[in-house]
Amino acid sequence: MTINNVRQIYVDHSAGKPVDSRVVDEMLPYFKASYGNPSSFHRFGQEAKQALDNSREDISKLINAEKPETIIFTSGATESNNLAIKGMAIRNRKKGTKIVTSAVEHMSVVNSCKSLVRQGFQTTFSPVDSYGLLDLAKLEENIDEQTKLVSVVYANGEIGTIQPINEISEIVHKKGAYLHVDATAACGQIPVNVKKDGIDLMTISCNDMYGPKGVGALYLKDSLRIDPLLHGGGQERGLRSGTENVSSIIGFGKAAEITRLEMKSESKRLVKIRDSLIQGLIDPVPYTFLNGHPKKRLPDNVSLRFNFIEGESILLSLALSGVFASSGSACAAKTLQPSHVLLAMGLKHEEAHGSLMITLGRQNTQKDADYIKELIPSIIDRLRNMSPLTPKELKK
């Protein structure tokens, strides 16, 4: 796409993705023709109910769940994380009041845990190394008899690092706790298999698979029981009351099906573009570093930091040239705090300041990457020339 002759390259896919047109096509009939309430007895209702169940099946297939009923539809990943953590904690209150999580979680996990602390629970944020990988020895230490739930992100969308879920699962289960995994960014990009990975609860996002926003799911292992957050008519096995968002859930099912069939080739394609971008920016621009693990990394994620400059001014410069990305800098955040994920990896505030996050998507091509590679060095030079922190040898 071009606007005013400037190419428009969207590379902020971890924040939001377009909806696949095949998904839209699948959804449309459920707005005006099949508009029944799945709880209704008549044909309209049963049609909607059948469609919901089909979606449930598509999603359970994607993650290899034991049966479709393990999928509970929610309003998105934030709700799923809230439901998993609070639902488990409150259900198991008598058995233990400690929740262990990691230092690189999404705010919906962080703040769910914090809200439980106000209700008398205890939370420990387990540390990560400089790649953002969980320190497994520390994790094991942190899980005590009081711990009934451990919540870990499969892969953090900001730094791309993929956690060793299998090993984590072994530790968690050995210690007698349950494992919730936030697979928002991972599910759809890398194979996620709840059985093989040993996952008890898992958060899935729909938009992250090119489906609509405002819908998500929680996988809840068949034998597990949790308390609901929403009470009402008892939809979703009583775990999420409220009439289901039928059209979006239909889209979710289609998105999951497409993902299951195309993920492998698409991820392979993205990894190539990703690595060419990473190398093509680190090599020519001195004092540029990769955030996150170089190999154990989501296919879409290019997370870099450029020392001596600030991320919002990088974003602004990029946007003027038609490139739309994001940053973990304090100045780019509503809260004016640097990203807690970058700080957890041991970065200093001023290092987190210079962070730039490029997340690729289906419509991006190698040409887009080449354009970005050409564009960025001059932006960095210009900003560094203005910065009081830039060392003399870099000044031009």
């Binding site: 600030e310 001014s313 602004l316 100045c331 640097p338 300041h353 203005m386 910065s387 009081p388």
Partner: protein, 129 residues
């Protein structure tokens, strides 16, 4: 989110760089987000004859630094001391609310440079006595 004026000063900042033999230098940090700004001034006959800045910060911080140097150039020291965060933001056609603190930085750095100059002046006089 930014006004055209802000974008203009961000893309074409005026008076960037250092003055090697500056009469006054002021560096301030932004306690809100951790940014940094340095202003250099050259004084002649009690007026700001030349002024330059260096900024490590967001788009608004760069634009406000640039605007501050433009406002200050040619002014007497006393006039320059009156340049405030509000006047800088106003000259830029307004700033988003979350970015108002960045304009503090520019005005503060200018005032710090002037104080530095005054301090040096006083010291010189005392030495001459």
């Amino acid at each position: 989110m930014y006004s055209n004026k802000v974008m203009d000063h961000f893309t074409h900042p005026r008076n960037t760089g250092e003055i090697i033999d500056a009469d006054g230098v002021g560096t301030v940090g932004n306690p809100t987000c951790g940014d940094l700004m340095t202003m250099y001034i050259k004084i002649k006959d009690n007026r700001i004859e030349d002024i330059k800045f260096k900024t490590f910060g967001c788009g608004a911080a760069i634009a406000t630094s640039s605007m501050t140097t433009e406002l200050a150039k040619g002014k007497t020291i006393d006039e320059a001391m009156k340049i405030s965060r509000a006047s800088v933001a106003e000259s830029l056609g307004g700033l988003p609310k979350v970015k108002m603190h960045c304009s503090n930085l520019a005005a503060d750095a200018l005032h710090a440079a002037i104080e530095d100059y005054k301090g040096k002046l006083k010291k010189n006089k005392e030495e001459q006595k």
